[in-house]
């Protein structure tokens, strides 16, 4: 009936799933080798020993602690991502206290950046663009976080419960997930939003949340499926623990990095989705978000007026925020899938080793190969 196998051996189509967010690719891929969970259990051969085999310098790298391997190595990616996201969040929290009223139309007409004390210029009806950006950051971030939470709850229920419970519950839950996955989200969102004449922020967030959890659920399900047959899970089942408790205490903590990655992905999706929806005039009524700004720019024919300072900043902020969040997601990916982190490093070490050998004049190794 449905499209899922119930066997323990992984269905290739599911275990190697790619969603548009490239970030999930790696997360999904690890199902096949089960590395993340083994790593959590502390059974993994850390990158130190891999490096040791590659370079033959075991004594130098061995003392690295396991804890440090598990934590995100402070990579430039992570730092840049955190700085970008942190800066935008701070901007959203602090800046609105100091800006003008975003709907203030005291100055009529379109002003270029810097004219008459308007840092980034004004819109065609005289709104200060900097003020709108600051208040819009609040709106967009709020929608992003609400959608993230909604998507999180749905994907945990439909993903982890389905994967853990198995059987008919799994068939049913993952059928719903798969249907939601192939139905294009935005048209559905448009249809849902179009029937209500006034839309609150919460309604828009709810609609986006309802349509954005399926991809995450697929990823979480395949992971939960591989966790349910681990010894410690079986042990707690034998000792009579309730399913809910096993999921909450044994399974969920092991999936935390993955859940975090999916949460971040949902926020990116939500902010992009809100922008698209608002651009079509279906955004939250009476609110200021980056998407609403773009909608107003289009309505005020910013393009034909050449008012680039009106439509460039909101989109740029969306792109930069999305980029920052993706960079954090990449770092999480590298925790979940050590291959991504270790392989490039290992290749670098091999190259470096070859180089030093070459400098020492012992080209015999190369000649032998």
């Amino acid at each position: 009936m449905a499209d899922h196998n119930d066997t323990i051996g992984e269905d290739v189509r599911e275990s190697e799933f790619v969603t548009p967010a490239a970030t999930t690719v790696a997360s999904a891929e690890v199902v096949a080798d089960g590395l993340p969970t083994e790593q959590e259990l502390g059974e993994v051969v850390g990158d130190g020993s891999l490096a040791a085999t590659m370079t033959g310098q075991a004594s130098v790298v061995a003392p690295r602690s396991r804890m440090r391997d598990m934590l995100p190595s402070v990579s430039p990616k992570l730092v840049i991502g955190l700085v970008i996201v942190g800066a935008i969040v701070l901007f959203a929290i602090i800046a609105p206290f100091f800006t003008l009223d975003p709907s203030n139309t005291e100055y009529d007409g379109l002003l270029r950046p810097g004219e008459q004390g308007h840092l980034l210029g004004t819109t065609a009806i005289g709104n200060d663009i900097f003020a709108q950006l600051a208040h819009g950051a609040r709106g967009s971030l709020l929608i992003g976080i609400v959608v993230g939470v909604i998507a999180l709850v749905f994907s945990v229920v439909f993903g982890i419960f389905a994967g853990y419970l198995g059987g008919w519950a799994d068939e049913g839950l993952s059928l719903v997930t798969n249907i939601m996955l192939v139905i294009p989200a935005l048209p559905l969102t448009i249809v849902l939003a179009a029937y209500s004449s006034s839309r609150s922020m919460w309604l828009v967030a709810g609609v986006l949340g309802l349509t954005s959890w399926a991809g995450s659920a697929i990823v979480l399900r395949s992971q939960a499926k591989s966790l349910r047959i681990r010894d410690y899970v079986l042990a707690s089942r034998v000792s009579g623990e309730k399913s809910i408790r096993i999921i909450a205490v044994e399974i969920l903590p092991n999936l935390l990095p993955l859940v975090a990655a999916q949460f971040i992905f949902a926020i990116i999706f939500a902010i992009l989705g809100e922008a698209g929806l608002s651009y079509l005039g279906l955004g939250p009524t009476g609110a200021v978000t980056w998407g609403i700004m773009l909608y107003q720019a289009q309505q005020g024919s910013a393009l034909t007026l050449g008012a680039w300072w009106w439509f460039v900043p909101p989109g740029l902020l969306i792109a930069v925020l999305g980029c920052g969040l993706s960079l954090i997601n990449f770092s999480i990916d590298e925790i979940i899938n050590p291959k991504l982190r270790n392989a490039p490093k290992a290749v670098k070490r091999v190259r470096k080793a070859r180089k030093t050998e070459g400098e020492a004049g012992s080209a015999t190794l190369e000649a032998g190969a």
């Binding site: 192939v182 651009y279 930069v320 999305g322």
Partner: protein
């Protein structure tokens, strides 16, 4: 065969779910879309009882039982009857969609295939060159991916189209020269020119996903034992790359193709608005702006069915290129 049976069953159920969604959404949400629509229709002139009946069937508000409505609705669907548009009265919704659908299918189809090819090739190369300066490409692609489709479209329209004048920025063909696209050489060239910027938008926004996905799979695949074996056997690097690594690493990208397609279609719907491209996105937005609910429902249904069909084709191909799917499925 079991695999194909399951896929057919799944898509049948999904199709049914999409049709049911289409039937129940206007009935379950607050407000009375049928009355709003009929009031609009009445302004266009006299409304025949048959039209009233038809609208109530699609949007709810009929006196018959829900079950009867549901059956009649599905029966009408299979006769290609999606109701009558209000904003383009009295055109049947089906005719409007039939005119718009080829534009979107060609544009999104060609752009997606190009983007897929570029992404897979690029991702394979960057994954192969892991640990070198090529890795720096990866953070860059996240920026491309985080850009809203329609904003990128706005930038292209403004900077490439209007400032530099390199490509036409609106509509699917030159409306001042031709009434309709013709089968003559200049007209075909003209249509292609109009598709350049929309296609560029789709490719730029979606290539990052393929690229990073493929790169990550390459990195994982290249640390497999059989790659080490292949290298130890002394195979030429090119053979290891193409025959051992790329073929295996590309599989998940094929599996995820359909899902990404849904994503691209969503993005390009909004993008069409920017370019006034005469596809289904533009049609849907016009419908939304005019509260033309029958047209909106029709476009939603047809878009979903098209994406399902593409997914189905992709699943069949995937079952063919990866035998494991058929055996485990």
């Amino acid at each position: 065969m079991k695999y194909y049976g399951r896929r057919v069953a799944f898509y049948a159920i999904t199709l049914w779910a999409a049709i049911s969604l289409n039937f129940f959404i206007p009935r379950m949400l607050p407000g009375d879309p049928a009355d709003i629509l009929l009031a609009k229709l009445a302004r266009n002139g006299d409304v025949s009882p048959a039209v009233v009946q038809n609208v109530k069937l699609i949007l709810g508000g009929s006196d018959e039982s829900l079950w009867t409505q549901y059956w009649t609705y599905i029966k009408n669907l299979f006769h290609g009857d999606l109701g009558i548009s209000v904003s383009k009265f009295p055109e049947p919704v089906w005719d409007l969609i039939r005119d718009a659908l080829p534009w979107t299918i060609c544009l999104v189809g060609i752009a997606t295939i190009l983007s897929f090819a570029i992404g897979i090739a690029g991702g394979a190369w960057i994954g192969w060159k892991r640990g070198t300066a090529w890795d720096a490409f990866i953070p860059f692609t996240t920026l491309l991916q985080s850009i809203p489709y329609f904003w990128l479209a706005l930038l292209l329209v403004y900077f490439v189209g209007m400032q530099m004048g390199w490509a036409p920025v609106a509509w699917g063909w030159d409306v001042q020269t031709y009434d309709h696209p013709e089968l003559s050489w200049p007209s075909i060239v003209d249509v292609f020119q109009h598709a350049v910027l929309p296609a560029t938008t789709i490719i730029l926004s979606s290539v990052g996903g393929w690229l990073v996905g493929m790169r990550n799979m390459m990195v994982s695949t290249l640390s497999e034992d059989y790659i080490v074996t292949a290298e130890a056997k002394g195979l030429r690097p090119r053979r290891v790359l193409w025959t051992y690594a790329v073929r295996n690493a590309a599989l998940p990208s094929f599996a995820g193709f359909g899902v990404t397609l849904a994503f691209v279609v969503s993005g390009s719907l909004v993008m069409e608005q920017v370019f006034s491209y005469p596809g289904v996105g533009k049609l849907m937005i016009t419908a939304v702006q005019n509260a033309d609910y029958t047209l909106m429902q029709g476009v939603f249904l047809l878009t979903t069915v098209t994406v399902l069909a593409a997914n189905f084709v992709m699943d069949i191909i995937y079952g063919f290129i990866d035998p494991r799917t058929r055996h485990h499925g």
